[in-house]
Subunit: 263 residues, 3 copies
């Protein structure tokens, strides 16, 4: 892993990260992308997603709030990204919670080539055909450990899978990386999972040939930013605000020393 070097590259290249995401977090993921140093572009109209996805550095699909025409736009964008060699990152928000979300996540995985899936244990377990416990769109648990789940899902889905939780696990089906960075206040702000996915897209844009590392580096970076933001936070509001400051102020020179990664 070369988190600091990839972060420095990201800030220099400022890759376009095209995001088709849910209404709840659009502003948040755009601002997290921008604070980190990449350029977000949010667009969902069928008439324009192919144009944008094909020139982007990465495409991020997030199914947090769905409608039929958004699903179609996601599929169009994903195919255009595939054709142009642009990596696609999928956040299967709420897979397992409703049939629409489970079916949509599976359909996207079936009809397009996804580089990285980033989800919680229940979402990933659902997609991997394993047992999970869900409340609303929150993961309560899965029968597998995070490491086993990430590995099995990556093998089954044929892509890199990141399972986030107290400890995050990222696997390509062979190797598993465990990331211990982060802070519990991340669970008190809506959309932090979606932000982690957006940042995964940013790293996929600069390290598309190393998706396992890109996914792990994104979670290190986001976790370290969470640790920094927590330092002066008085609750979810100040933590949320501090998160953008922290992403912006991350130092590529020191981040590798702060990474808590077990292989």
């Amino acid at each position: 892993m070369r988190t600091g070097a990839d972060l420095a590259t990201l800030r220099e290249r400022k890759p376009l990260v095209h995001q088709i995401t849910n209404y709840v977090v659009m502003n948040e993921t755009a601002n997290a992308t921008l604070a980190l140093g990449a350029l977000p572009v949010m667009a969902h109209a069928k008439e324009e997603v192919e144009e944008l996805a094909s020139v982007a550095g990465a495409l991020v699909l997030n199914i947090g709030t769905l409608s039929q025409h958004w699903i179609e736009a996601m599929l169009l964008a994903a195919r255009a990204a595939n054709a142009a060699g642009v990596p696609v990152v999928l956040d299967p928000v709420g897979a397992g919670a409703t049939r629409l979300r489970t079916d949509t996540a599976k359909r996207i995985l079936g009809e397009a080539e996804i580089a990285i899936v980033r989800g919680n244990a229940a979402e990933v377990a659902t997609l991997a055909g394993r047992e999970a416990e869900i409340r609303g769109v929150e993961s309560i648990g899965a029968s597998d450990s995070g490491a086993d789940l990430a590995k099995a899902a990556a093998a089954g889905l044929g892509c890199v899978v990141a399972v986030t939780g107290a400890v995050d696990h990222v696997s390509d089906g062979a190797q598993v990386l465990a990331i211990g960075n982060g802070h519990e206040l991340l669970g008190t702000v809506s959309g932090t999972g979606c932000m982690a996915t957006a940042i995964t897209g940013c790293f996929a844009a600069v390290a598309s040939e190393r998706p396992l590392e890109a996914a792990a580096e994104a979670l290190v970076v986001f976790g370290v930013a969470g640790e920094d933001a927590a330092r002066e936070a008085k609750g979810p509001g100040t933590f949320h605000v501090g998160l953008y400051d922290a992403l912006y102020n991350l130092d590529p020179a020191t981040i590798d020393a702060r990474a808590k990664v077990d292989e």
Copy 2:
């Protein structure tokens, strides 16, 4: 009223609060719900709202930005909630401002059983068939006092009605509770009314058999959080951020002593 006890229960049970709300405040109401201690789930697709509403602790409908298919989704969700015994809270944003909003609010009240309506004086007066003065979606005034209006509307609509303003009034048609908590900075942030409604949904989820108290407790809690947030605020921005911190840090042990409620 047992605000502290109900807040403690809420944080222990973490009820799912399904919200079909407007684009402007989705992130804000999700975060207010989460900061308080409940679990928000935001979903509007016709294909999934019934599944979610029927397993939620409460359903919150907010008509702040409407489209035809959102109206249909709200009705489907409300009927599913009714069938499952899940309380439904309605925020009739802008009723009286346009025909679409007035008609939609009335249609929801006519086709589903609503437990609590939370609105400003002009919105409630419009629904109760009384005179109101409106600018855009802001209430300028109503011919009735808040107490009279809440009582008349509750009697007419057959549900609990909360009319918020400098002093809030909550009625079930018989009793009227006046809540004096709050702060004028609440009027400088977009979506604080919608947040009050989301929090009403949180309390409805843990005290569904006592809707009058649930509605009043929610306004006490939100008002006290506003008082706390105002203490170090320098304007609407820092106040808004402080509101999430304050909701998160509310102490069930002291909140009853801080409630300003007149019966």
Copy 3:
């Protein structure tokens, strides 16, 4: 220019500013409008936009996220505003980036009377038929200088044009005003351009007969607020929050002395 006097008038009259804008910044532009002292109303349903636009002080159209029915709603609203003498402000977000956005911006300019266009150099160059360099929805540059571009676009489009950048240029086709207020942190927060457009709508509402001044005053006010917010900001998060505080705390008595305007 009489920025202080117009700001004082705005706070006294509290004009309604009807905004049909993109999903990413709805909350942000509503809160910027409210913090400044005007009343935002966000509505996009075809069934209600004419009612609202015709009673508003100004109508703001922003094409940052498009769908077909939003385009139709924008055209309906613009025509209703025109018929009622309500000034219309257009933010052509991403014109030049995709055909849909370029075509939509041109269609709105062709089918309705626009008082003020506020965009970045690439967007304005696209609409004026001049050369521009674009990445995603970000402007990299235009072949003309800001002053020349604003003047040529205003002459060509027949309305006031504001081109924002490190220095902003506003022209009515004859005169050009250059505004040097602002801060580089404005570029680190998503939606600050959209906020500048919303504030342009606020000033258009109180100075509709002086659109050149209204556009320039809005950029002075937003720039000064940016300077104030930057003072204690630690990054994009605290800057963003401070921007609302700064807009709220702007002093009409001192703002003219702080304006950096060259004619």
